[in-house]
């Protein structure tokens, strides 16, 4: 099990946890999304600044455990500069990977691969998911023209 533990808390995750990326505020929030993980009390705040249908800047503020913070930090790093379409696809791939439904994370996704180990800890999957479903929720609302925060999305939502 300590092997499994090490598999979850990879060096790279501990690194993101200790110094999370994406803490700087955006200039103008086109998407503002809030998420929570009621099972654990993790909370996340996310703002996305959009330019020509791409993520210009993203700010992620997560109060939570190593896994949720690291996952949010990786998210911030990964999505910056990507088109909204790419971002949605990426978030969907991560969501599926974590839920054990989908394909593996493609090579190019780099650090994200580190999240795989979480799958051995079902109760922590939600921690890893939190930032991604918060992002997906924001994107969905943005498409409908309601990019600004309504109510918080929860990891318990389907």
């Amino acid at each position: 099990m300590n092997d499994q533990l090490d598999d979850m808390y990879r060096e790279i995750i501990l690194d993101h946890y200790r110094s999370p990326r994406g803490k700087q505020p955006v200039d103008k929030a086109d998407i503002s999304s809030e998420g929570m993980n009621p099972a654990c009390g993790d909370e996340i705040d996310m703002q996305v600044e959009i330019d020509e249908e791409s993520v210009k800047k993203i700010s992620v503020n997560c109060r939570g455990c190593a896994i949720s913070v690291a996952s949010g930090s990786m998210l911030a790093e990964m999505v910056k500069g990507k088109s909204l379409e790419e971002v949605a696809r990426l978030a969907e791939v991560v969501r599926k990977m974590l839920k054990g439904e989908g394909d593996e994370i493609p090579e190019e996704f780099g650090d994200l691969d580190a999240l795989k180990g979480v799958r051995n800890f079902p109760v922590r999957v939600k921690c890893a998911l939190l930032s991604w479903i918060t992002l997906l929720d924001g994107l969905t609302r943005y498409k409908k023209g309601e990019g600004l925060r309504s109510s918080a999305i929860s990891t318990e939502d389907k």
Partner: protein, 425 residues
């Protein structure tokens, strides 16, 4: 295991059981005992069934290896307990013919399941002048909540009467279920008469007038293949203890859209998303309706009961009971002093056989049978209004299940003969 297949089978003679009843009997440790110096014959299955070794062992296993509170755990035992608990939920979802996991709400029994609907859906949706339709053969669990709701909302309680043969009299159904009807609550199988009701037809009529349909499956789910979607029921309820499972567990199946709109029932841990002193938001289904620490061990062990039934096959359960009911009714009918309630046709009824003796009161029947090691129930069977309709103070009831066979029925019939000698009537 399609719903209703069993109903199409006709049984006229007793044929060999579709599975080895002897082997089944051997799986139930409690049956291997003497009561009042006679080998126990347990014929009180409509009240509660016995448990196979696999269910008892599942409890043992749970308490020896996995016991923990669920959902919020961050440790191995909590994870094991959560997976086992949620595993039963998925199993129930399949068992009732395929519904979504989150449409399966665990309660403490059928009684709580129906109360939940009355207190949440009923509170919101029933208003003055609305009509609630039940039947004359309802168990108090599917009656008293509606009597009280009707009273508190100034709604009208209407009932579908029964024929002298113990069937629902649907001849005036269009006058009973009308545009004013908001809810139709009907039992799938009567615990007194054994009648299997044409719930699909009744649900269709309810939906045709825009009413919601609740089906009390407490006596049906243990004894025949169920397909809640096919029946069309908006709510379907049953109790684990009547189908080989532990006491303290019931199930409410509800349509997701409806469950989502309903306010919660009990308030507490796990059913909330966020709590402040002045404001609360609810958790998602099914947790919204499962406040507090649930009956984890018994839900976990209920899975073994469902597996036991799966392995026999619900159509075979139904076929066996139909054959045995037929046998029992024939044998009982040979006793001239015995009067049986409910339908005579074995394909239209289950194995709950209520009867009276012309000269011996049901309580005396039950006490005498007990002295011969035979467990039956006597009384009003929580259906006082039905008893009044039948013109009986009480009946005796022998109710069959998978571990009963011809020899149990023979013991019953012999004892009834002896009883009359004993009382000198």
């Amino acid at each position: 295991m399609k719903s209703g297949d069993g109903e199409k089978l006709k049984s006229t003679d007793y044929r060999p059981a579709p599975f080895s009843v002897e082997q089944v009997k051997a799986d139930f440790p409690i049956l291997d005992q003497k009561v009042n110096r006679h080998q126990l014959v347990y014929l009180d299955n409509a009240a509660s069934t016995q448990k196979p070794r696999s269910v008892i062992n599942a409890l043992l296993e749970y308490y020896r290896h996995s016991n923990s509170n669920i959902h919020r755990g961050m440790h191995t035992l909590a994870e094991r307990a959560t997976q086992a608990y949620e595993g039963t939920r998925s199993h129930v979802a399949q068992f009732v013919g395929g519904v979504l996991d989150e449409e399966v709400i665990f309660t403490s029994g059928t009684t709580e399941a129906i109360n939940l609907v009355a207190a949440t859906w009923g509170e919101v949706n029933i208003s003055e002048g609305d009509e609630i339709v039940i039947t004359e053969m309802e168990h108090h669990a599917n009656l008293v909540p509606w009597v009280m709701l009707a009273k508190s909302k100034s709604a009208v309680l209407k009932r579908i009467p029964i024929t002298i043969c113990g069937h629902l009299d649907l001849s005036n159904i269009d006058e009973i279920i009308t545009k004013k009807t908001k809810l139709v609550a009907v039992s799938h199988m009567s615990n007194v008469l054994g009648t299997i009701n044409p719930v699909k037809e009744i649900v269709a009529r309810a939906h045709a007038v825009g009413a919601v349909a609740l089906v009390d499956g407490a006596q049906a789910a243990p004894h025949m293949a169920i397909n809640v979607r096919d029946l069309g029921a908006d709510f379907y309820t049953f109790s684990a203890h009547k189908m080989l499972g532990p006491t303290g567990v019931g199930v409410l199946i509800g349509r997701k859209e409806m469950l989502e709109e309903m306010p919660p029932y009990k308030m507490g841990g796990e059913m909330i998303r966020e709590v402040r002193f002045d404001r609360v938001t609810w958790n998602d289904l099914p947790h919204k309706f499962e406040a507090g620490t649930p009956n984890i061990a018994d839900v976990v062990a209920f899975d073994a009961a469902l597996t036991y039934l799966d392995e026999i096959g619900m159509d075979k359960v139904r076929l066996h009971e139909m054959q045995l009911t037929d046998y029992a009714m024939k044998k009982l009918t040979e006793l001239p002093s015995i009067e049986i309630q409910g339908p005579q046709e074995p394909d239209q009824r289950g194995g709950a056989i209520s009867f009276t003796d012309r000269d011996v009161h049901p309580h005396d029947i039950a006490t005498f049978l007990d002295s011969k090691g035979i467990a039956v129930r006597a009384g009003h069977h929580c259906a006082q209004p039905l008893m009044r309709v039948l013109g009986k103070v009480a009946t005796a009831r022998a109710s069959l299940y998978i571990y009963n066979d011809e020899s149990d029925v023979d013991r019953l019939v012999e004892a009834l003969v002896e009883m009359r000698r004993y009382f000198g009537v």
